[in-house]
């Protein structure tokens, strides 16, 4: 089964790569939409500015390729920025996004505390959800972000986290799951999330 990591120059892919190698997943890193079209699983990471990331995706025609793969039911795992720009829009630069999940990425208000929300935080997951199987309740994950996903439909949220208020930490719609936290930097709990994605269905 061919796993493809989308490279659109939005951040360093090294830690995603080492985590996948560690759990024994052969994968290809690509910015070529044709290769994405042949992928059987897609990992969609990203850090940085949401509006800029959308431009980088569009320049490489990866935006249409991702929409197409999602429509085709190919499993996709979004990470961090890849959990925000799968929504319809982001407050960051007011950009339109991929629209795979109804909703928008919103900025943390200053009363939440220091922004970015950076560090380890415990996550409440939807009971019995396959992405979190085998994890102790209240496991902690590593976050670095100033915006958070606000899906329009409550049913699309599969995990929650507390930072001044309860925000959505992971979403699911169709064949897409996405985590606001970094599973590749979240120790054994994060590796388990990656395994769950790569071994599902």
């Amino acid at each position: 089964m061919k796993t493809v990591v989308v490279d659109y120059q939005a951040g360093n892919l090294r830690s995603v790569e080492t985590a996948l190698l560690h759990i024994g997943v052969e994968h290809e890193i690509t910015s070529d939409p044709d290769r994405l079209a042949r992928a059987q699983r897609i990992v969609f990471p990203g850090v940085g500015d949401g509006a800029h990331a959308m431009r980088l995706l569009a320049e490489r025609e990866l935006d249409e390729a991702l929409k197409d793969r999602h429509a085709a039911g190919v499993p996709i795992l979004g990470i961090c920025l890849g959990c925000q720009i799968v929504l319809e829009s982001t407050e960051e630069g007011g950009a339109s996004c991929l629209g795979l999940v109804p909703g928008t990425a919103r900025r943390f208000p200053p009363e939440c505390g220091k922004v970015p929300h950076m560090g380890w935080n415990s996550v409440r997951t939807r009971p019995g959800h396959w992405l979190f199987s085998g994890l102790p309740a209240g496991s902690s994950f590593y976050f670095v972000h100033s915006y958070y996903p606000a899906p329009a439909r409550a049913a699309d949220a599969i995990a929650w986290c507390e930072y001044g208020f309860e925000f959505v930490a992971a979403i699911e719609r169709g064949s897409l799951v996405a985590t606001q936290f970094h599973p590749e930097k979240s120790g054994e709990a994060g590796l388990q999330v990656l395994r769950n994605f790569l071994e599902a269905r």
Partner: protein, 261 residues
């Protein structure tokens, strides 16, 4: 709830973890990759590697250490020491570090912060700052460089704020007064900076027992605390330190969590 981080710091010279010993120079205390792996298993939240190598061969060895650490541990880690250019930053980030730390170089050339943040993101750029108590300075602390040997004319709080404006995503405040004493962190300088900037602040220098971390989280307003000799010589494990922090009611990540019954 966001948890307080415990960060282990390793000084690396020519590929070995090392410790400065008074009158004796440096002694090697272990392999940094093996030590990193052990701390990872004990539940450390983050690691910092300071490259104290003087030679250019040593630089290459350091990149190799970073690469091997990245292959084995899956938590964020930062590399500092001798980072003077964008190319230096790129080399350690591409080898697998999440963050780079700049200290004396940033005082001499603050643009390294803004340029690094523009290329790699604010989250990747850490300012390390050595502070020395000095009643003549507005905040009560003066920035010193070159390991504390050279005084600058900069006020610690003013410099921290400037670095934040330039794009530093985190600030490590190392108290030269407390460093090496094992009597506890300098709470006042930590609180001064931690409450004066909008980015996370890591306390450094002086930790000797786990209660010192409790103090710096509760009274120093630190977001994270650096430890080194406390754990390097086997006095405490990271897990034991976290037991004490958790017992004080401070949110901290535990790796020994069991499923809810």
């Amino acid at each position: 709830m966001l948890q307080k981080r415990v960060i282990v710091c390793l000084d690396v010279r020519d590929g070995k973890t090392t410790k400065g010993v008074r009158f004796e120079g440096n002694i090697d205390i272990g392999d940094p990759v093996e030590m990193a792996r052990a701390y990872y298993e004990q539940g450390v939240d983050e690691l910092v590697f300071y490259d104290i190598t003087a030679s250019s061969e040593g630089r290459g060895i350091m990149i190799d250490v970073v690469r091997r650490v990245a292959e084995q541990i899956f938590i964020p880690f930062c590399v500092g020491g001798g980072i003077a250019t964008i190319d230096d930053m790129r080399a350690v980030l591409l080898a697998g570090a999440e963050k780079v730390s700049v200290n004396s170089q940033a005082v001499r050339n603050p643009r390294i912060i803004s340029e690094g943040a523009r290329r790699f993101g604010n989250q990747a750029i850490v300012l390390g700052m050595d502070a020395l108590a000095d009643p003549q300075m507005p905040s009560g602390y003066r920035v010193v460089i070159n390991g504390g040997r050279v005084k600058t004319d900069r006020d610690a709080l003013e410099w921290a704020r400037e670095a934040e404006q330039l794009g530093a995503g985190e600030i490590v405040v190392n108290s030269i007064d407390a460093d090496g004493t094992r009597d506890g962190y300098e709470l006042d300088v930590t609180r001064t900076i931690a409450t004066g900037v909008g980015v996370p602040v890591v306390a450094s220098g002086g930790a000797g027992v786990p209660a010192h971390l409790v103090d710096v989280f509760e009274r120093g307003a630190a977001d994270a605390a650096l430890v080194a000799s406390m754990v390097h010589y086997g006095d405490y494990t990271v897990a034991a330190i976290k037991d004490v922090i958790a017992a004080a009611g401070i949110p901290v990540r535990r790796v020994d969590q069991r499923p809810a019954v």
